[in-house]
Amino acid sequence: MRPFDYQRPAAPEAACQGMSASPHAAYIGGGTNLIDLMKLGVMAPDLLVDVNRLGFDTIKDLDDGVEIGATVRNSDLADDPRIRVRWPVLSRALLAGASAQLRNKATTAGNLLQRTRCPYFQDIDVPCNKRKPGSGCAALGGELRNHAILGTSEHCVAAHPSDMAVAMQALDAQVVIRDADGQTRTMGLDHFYRTPGDTPHIETRLNPADLITGVRLPAPLGDRQVYRKVRDRASYAFALVSAAAVMQLKEGRIEYAAIAFGGLGTQPWRDPKVDALLTGARPSEALFEKAGDVLLRSAELREGLEFKKPLAHRVLKAVLTEATQ
């Protein structure tokens, strides 16, 4: 067996220290993703540092926003009255994901960092650049369905599977990070993930022992919030396409627009050009069509993924229509 150590420190210092001790250590939150991947032989950490006793399990009020602790469970976050009232798009995105059992276990940080559902990534018998850098990509030329059409490279076309992160992307979330030296910094979610390029195994801008302690949500800039998810069955399925919209209308014009997408990108996708096009404009079908064209201008429609372009177009239009009605 691959032996691994397990630590459950009571303070962040000890956690970061533990992590620094081994290049193959990993933090563990709910374990709903990491443990599965360990069983499949996809991930093989030699040390698990449990983050559940570090005191990051509450949602704190900030001046005008909130800071969601890294280990707040997805179900608790979705149920929180503050979130439901001011950031309903986040509640809805969370509830559209996984199953009740998984949400009871899954943590905020773990959800942001969950790995792709590309089936070839999960199959250790085939090449995968994300799993084994430089080995090739079995998905290219294979069966594509839950893969990305935006941000892809010739080295990887895997989509980021999270629903929660899509809503957070539209809410200008900031990830709070504690580094190995005990310094805390924040990083906008729009800057947090990396496109695969030729290093698809490096998914974020985190440094090795960086610990996510929470996620800050600033006051919502729009009170019209919509989350919509298209999937292969009514529940318990990842998004084929999803969209989160946060919008504000004033005197018949769109005063603020932040739109993010799931199932389309190698990361929870937000395109400033789409937001810019919408901002200041009057809602109209033509405008929404145009937004779709802008979003998908550089979409790579590999075989099997052609359906995502028209689908994304239609979903975007429906979401914008709903948010501006």
């Binding site: 067996m1 691959r2 069983k39 499949l40 032989g41 559902r117 089936p119 070839y120 199959d123 250790i124 018998d125 085939v126 030329g141 294979g142 069966e143 369905r145 298209v230 999937r231 292969d232 069955r233 009514a234 529940s235 318990y236 399925a237 990842f238 396409v241 689908l311 239609r314 979903v315 239009k317 429906a318």
Partner: protein, 680 residues
């Protein structure tokens, strides 16, 4: 003594009949339900004899000759006991009722995912990791994995022509000519396949997750090169099978061999991902259906031509055409099916083999005909029902399709629907309705059972029959209670053990009729004994409430037994009746479906199913079976598909997150109506 009974005639008049107010047919909860939900029921993998070792199957990641390149290294790992590659190991599961070994020898891989070795260790974690570390090389030519590349097997053709179908198609006033494809499907039973094997000298006991023990025992013995009576199989609880556990699978043989080699009990549980590739799948199909009719929808000719696939050498062909021989009347008929040989995981029986995809495609074509002729879909079916089996004139033992269609139509409220598409909309959703007839051949199989009546007045039913979640424990108890005038609580039922008389096993929907009849026969023998003790004829006897009644004479059964146990053995054989009459079960299913105008997502809003399935032994378990069938129908139509990689055929979506069986949110209210029908 044994009561031997062969069903040679459609009428089985000389058997005792239930009196109608006993426990038979009641709405009864499953007797094992509580044990199952509380965890008291122990499934195969939960048996842990002392000294148990753990085996994990290693899969082939390529096809061709297999070479394990680092066996010594893996065997040297701490806790690893053995890397087993034995010529008796099997490449894929045995087909249902095979009774003999499937292809053996795992030094060649016929498909990707095939087991090629077993790694045995002190814990399942060690074994799993060691199996991951074991390196497998396979050398061989590219083999066909896509239907368009596979070769047609001339020995596996079905070809039946009645009249002049081609003429009829050419001259038809109305013709539907449509081609449908369906993907590979899998059984997706909840419990993964598992075996715990233990030897005592040269006798093997194996706890398995199996549907048909009498055949499984012969299959396993044949694999191991021993006699069937050296093998004892036990499967008291089985967490669903849906065809995938009809025949033994790789876990059984590997566990038995490893346990023998190591002199310790060995457990092998298939990983969920292996369940998807080691056990049989339903073949993908292509079906061309032609319907020629008069302008009023009356059929003049039907054509059903199919293509299915399987591994070279496998004799199972998805029986696509099974129902098309008798579903609708038409003088001219063309029924053809061909098999292409592909190196994908073996195909076999999955949830209503043949009918599930064959009837579905045919019924879709009927809808196209309804559209073309502007005849109501229910009416169209009613117009085309045969009064005898088409082609050969064989009578139907019972034919209740018309009743199912009309009863279902009324219960569903079919006449209120908008007959044309795109008539009803709610928000973004288009609401439509549809219906299909359901037809399935009916079989009975050899079955035996023993019943003992103890001096305390309790009955004990014993057979190797399995309960795969269907309710065998419950209905066999009901049957014995009915026959002996007892309450179900007075009857103990012991199943799933090859030391007991061989039942039919669970598969092909034969279990209740076959093993149930064997139990009834065993009870009839006991009744005969009782009658003899009273100096009466069995038919004068009434058993009720633990009493024996003959005319005015009523006495407690226990008095009559005076300390003795009475025993009966029932033995059923199918006989000639199956040839003399066409037996089938009938149904009609109606659905209201919403399709999202923006996304194309389809969600079922309600379903109604009306079925004539013969005598209902237990309202609740029968209803549950019908509902399960409707859920699988929903999955077949909307959510399920096994994805094969087009380059090498391997199954890409090998878990329950990616293979989409319907979840609760997909399943709406399912109204089930069981027509009371006694198909003698």
């Amino acid at each position: 003594m044994t009561i031997d009974y062969q069903i040679d005639d459609p009428e089985n008049a000389n058997l005792p009949h239930p009196n109608g107010h006993g426990p038979l047919g009641a709405d009864m909860e499953r007797r094992d339900g509580r044990d199952k939900v509380t965890g008291a029921a122990r499934y195969a993998a939960e048996h842990a004899p002392d000294g148990l070792l753990h085996g994990v199957l290693k899969r082939a990641s390529g096809m061709g000759t297999v070479c394990l390149t680092n066996v010594q290294e893996v065997e040297a790992l701490a806790g690893v006991r053995l890397v087993l590659q034995d010529e008796r190991m099997i490449r894929n599961a045995a087909q249902g009722t095979a009774g003999e070994a499937p292809v053996q020898g795992v030094d060649t891989a016929d498909y990707i995912g095939q087991p090629v070795a077993l790694v045995v260790a002190d814990s399942s974690e060690i074994a799993r990791d060691a199996a991951n570390l074991l390196k497998v090389q396979s050398v061989g030519d590219d083999l066909p994995v896509l239907p368009k590349h596979g070769e047609t097997d001339p020995d596996m053709q079905e070809n039946s022509v009645t009249g002049k179908p081609q003429d009829a198609f050419d001259k038809a006033p109305v013709l539907v000519d449509a081609t449908y494809t369906t993907p590979s499907l899998t059984s997706a039973a909840m419990e993964p396949h598992a075996a715990v094997a233990e030897w005592d000298g040269d006798r093997l006991t194996l706890y398995g997750s199996l549907q048909m023990l009498r055949y499984n025992r012969a299959e396993l013995a044949d694999c191991l090169g021993i006699e069937p009576d050296q093998v004892r199989l036990r499967a008291p609880f089985v967490g669903g099978g849906f065809g995938s556990k009809l025949g033994i699978s790789a876990d059984c043989v590997a566990a038995a061999l490893a346990a023998r080699a190591l002199g310790r009990p060995v457990r092998v549980v298939q990983h969920r991902r292996q369940v998807f590739e080691v056990n049989t799948r339903r073949s993908e199909t292509r079906q061309r259906i032609r319907l020629a009719s008069h302008s009023d929808g009356r059929l003049t000719a039907i054509g059903h031509e199919g293509r299915v696939s399987n591994l070279p050498g496998e004799e199972f062909a998805e029986p696509l055409l099974q129902a098309s021989y008798f579903n609708y009347a038409a003088p001219h008929r063309l029924l053809r099916s061909e098999m292409v040989r592909l190196n994908r995981p073996a195909a076999g029986s999955v949830r209503a083999p043949g009918a599930a995809v064959g009837v579905t495609a045919f019924e879709i074509a009927m809808d196209e005909l309804a559209q073309k002729t502007d005849v109501d879909p229910v009416e169209l079916r009613l117009r085309n029902l045969p009064d005898k089996e088409p082609g050969n004139g064989r009578p139907f033992s019972s034919h209740r399709l018309a009743d199912c269609l009309t009863e279902g139509r009324d219960r569903f409220g079919w006449s209120d629907r908008a007959a044309q598409p795109r008539q009803r909309r709610e928000g973004e959703w288009w609401i439509g309705t549809g219906m299909a007839a359901a037809v399935r051949v009916n079989l009975v199989m050899d079955a035996e059972a023993r019943v003992r009546l103890t001096p305390e007045g309790r009955a004990v039913v014993e057979t190797d029959m399995t309960d795969i979640g269907t309710g065998s424990y419950t209905i066999l108890g009901q049957i014995a209670a009915e026959a002996l005038g007892l309450t179900v609580a007075d009857v103990d039922v012991t199943l799933g053990d090859t030391d007991l008389p061989p039942g039919s096993g669970s598969g092909g929907s034969v279990g209740a009729a076959s093993t149930g009849t064997a139990v009834w026969l065993a009870c009839a023998e006991i009744r005969r004994d009782i009658a003899a003790r009273m100096g009466r004829k069995p038919e004068d006897l009434e058993l009720e409430g633990g009493d024996v009644i003959v005319g005015n004479d009523r006495r407690p059964l226990m008095d009559l037994l005076s300390g003795e146990t009475l025993s009966g053995h029932g033995k059923l054989a199918p006989g000639e009746a199956l040839e003399k009459v066409r037996q089938a079960t009938w149904g009609a299913v109606f659905a209201e479906v919403a399709v999202n105008d923006i996304t194309g997502e389809a969600r079922v809003r309600r379903m109604q199913g009306t079925f004539a399935i013969g005598r209902v032994l237990n309202q609740r378990t029968a209803r549950s079976q019908a509902q399960g069938g409707m859920v699988w129908g929903l999955g077949l139509a909307l959510t399920e598909a096994m994805v094969h990689d087009a380059r090498d055929g391997h199954v890409v979506n090998r878990d329950l997150a990616e293979y989409n069986v319907p979840v609760h949110a997909d399943v709406p209210y399912l109204d089930v109506c069981l027509l009371d029908d006694q198909d003698e």
